[in-house]
Amino acid sequence: MTVPLPKLKWMYEQMVKIRYYEETMVAVYAEGKQPVFNIGAGTVPGEMHLAAGQEPAAVGICAHLQKKDTVTAPHRPHHHAIAKGVDLKRMTAEIFGKKTGLGKGKGGHMHLFDPHVKFSCGGIIAAGIPHAAGAALAAKMKGKDSVAVAFVGEGAANAGAFHETLNLAALWKLPLIVVIEDNAYGISVPKSESTAVKTNDRRAAAYGIPGVYVEDNDPVEMYRVSEEAVDRARRGEGPSIIEIETYRYLGHFQGDPEIYRNPEEVPLLRKKDPIHRLITLLEEQSVSSGELEQMEIRARQEVDEAYEFARNSSYPDPAEALEDVFHRAEVNV
């Protein structure tokens, strides 16, 4: 199959944007953490899980989603957020802990919520799957044709929440797609030491639903299988599982010593970079290098502006820590 050209361009631009966002974050996160790394210091403190290399998973399916569709993401959420159209400025401000952030600085990088595009994420493995199922249930109850996509890592497919939710979703024919990003590791643990089956599409048999495995981080194949899964969900035929073999170029989190993997692994993966693949495809469809460059410039500019916005925003007032526990109420201290 061929991806319609506008979609292909969209995917390319998103992937470039994501990649540049993550690479920028590598540098920003390091600010104030040299010469000695200190997780709580610098411009952006706390854990930082980046997704450079994993763009195909996010863009391949988000290309089929609309604003009304829900996405839940795990601890490594930037690529999903960007592909789903989360407000990049407020997202970045949130990661900087600023008052202008999506959560007024309360959530941070693992807890980004943008209800305008129905995006959320969280730091507990597999916990977002039931939230997506709930959004799918709400859609079904309201008679809408919107769908919900839950992104998780391959490590999450061994958590109880994965099983419980897929059974529930299959039983109730909920419009849910679970996308498993197989980046070969859960922190330091390789898939072969965490997962009893080679690929998680096989687990679809446990719920009587379709399951597919996308090899080699292929954005086009991801686009194709996602189309089927999303259409099926919109038609009210129930959930699907998509697993995609993808590449984690960076450490599990920034600061990861990566003692558990061969130093040659990442350079080899980078050689198969999915962005290059898209460039080839776009060139094949006669997109000029000038246009490609324009897209890249636009993407980078958006990212730069978001970081600027975050940097220039102010921190919340300490007293705000006590607000927002309950809707319309302050906490009693």
Binding site: T72, L102, K106, F113, S120, M141, F326, H327
Partner: protein, 339 residues
């Protein structure tokens, strides 16, 4: 002047009526849980709802508490108002992550941009020999963790009124109902499990304790079954000339600090009674509140009565030993008055 006979309902019927009325009022309200459909809820909290509203709004679920409570959260974020039943509070351990890390925190973590208007209702309490995994209240386990309201009504009237408030609240509410106060045909029949309940919908505010018996000599703070036991004890104390003021907490979060403190400032003596484990529990919080805010008003040490720090034993004499009752409350107060 009583013109009409008061309508009497059991606890479970009061709850089910509240839910039914809110489901009629708001199409976004729905119920999910294990055996909430045909069975009507193991403790009758959803009796009759399936018949009235059908299976699209009263959903029996698989034994998958993480999935369906998590789904309730996801649906609430989309503007639905789910009522999810955790059959026994004792099962919280299989799904607490969804409850305390997500249901309770999403509003805060999102800076207030995502509301989770849902009710998690759950049965609590022992006294009928259901042993260590089916008899707990775990009041403090929930009340300790921020972001969710935690209520525990003691009468059919409050069960209805507080359920309606809980459903209408824009925040997640953990609604604990006591099995013995449901008035079920297969439980020990107790008077407190049946009471006057107006038919028309009404609300009872969350976060307000209630002085259920005024007194001047000592304050007894309690909740659910312990409130009723405290009232029994107070009757007998009155015969001895001791006037106990009994406060029914009704709500653990928010805790009605003012009502407690006012009473302690008046009586100068405090006994706290709880059906949860003693250490790091409700009795500790209420005692600490008084020790912080009313220290100079206290004329005697504070007394705590609760389940000693043991799992709930099965055998009747053992269980009776560890759950406070009218007698132990009475004894504790009498002894305290001698201080």
């Amino acid at each position: 002047m009583e013109t009409t006979a008061e309508r009497m309902l059991t606890g479970n019927k009061a709850m089910a009526e509240a839910i039914a009325q809110e489901m009629e009022r708001d199409p976004n309200v729905f119920v999910m849980g294990e055996d909430v459909g045909k069975y009507g809820g193991i403790f009758g909290s959803t009796e009759g709802l399936l018949k009235k509203f059908g299976p699209s709004r009263v959903l029996d679920t698989p034994i998958s508490e993480t999935a369906f409570i998590g789904a309730a959260i996801g649906a609430a974020a989309e503007g639905m108002r789910p009522i999810a039943e955790l059959m026994f509070v004792d099962f919280f351990g299989v799904c607490m992550d969804q409850i305390y890390n997500h249901m309770a925190k999403i509003h805060y973590m999102s800076g207030g941009s995502v509301k989770i208007p849902m009710v998690l209702m759950t049965a609590v309490g022992g006294g009928y020999n259901d042993a260590a995994q089916h008899s707990q209240t775990l009041y403090a386990t929930f009340a300790h963790l921020p972001g969710m309201k935690v209520v525990a009504p003691s009468t059919p009237y409050d069960l209805k009124g507080m359920m309606i408030s809980a459903i209408r609240d824009d925040n997640p509410v953990v609604f604990m109902f006591h099995k013995s106060l449901q008035g079920l045909g297969w439980m020990d029949p107790i008077d407190a499990a049946i009471g006057p309940v107006p038919e028309a919908p009404y609300t009872v505010p969350l976060g307000k304790a209630k002085v259920v018996r005024p007194g001047k000599d000592v304050t007894i703070v309690a909740l659910q079954m312990m409130t009723h036991y405290a009232l029994e004890a107070a009757d007998r104390l009155a015969e001895q000339g001791i006037e106990a003021e009994v406060i029914d907490l009704r709500s653990l979060v928010p805790l009605d600090r003012e009502t407690i403190l006012q009473s302690v400032r008046k009586t100068h003596r405090l006994v706290v009674v709880d059906e949860d484990y003693r250490s790091y529990g409700v009795t500790a919080e209420v005692a600490a509140l008084a020790a912080e805010e009313a220290m100079y008003d206290l004329e005697a040490p504070i007394r705590r009565l609760a389940i000693p720090d043991v799992p709930i034993p099965y055998s009747r004499p053992l269980e009776q030993r560890i759950i406070p009752g009218p007698q132990s409350i009475f004894d504790t107060v009498v002894k305290l008055m001698e201080e």
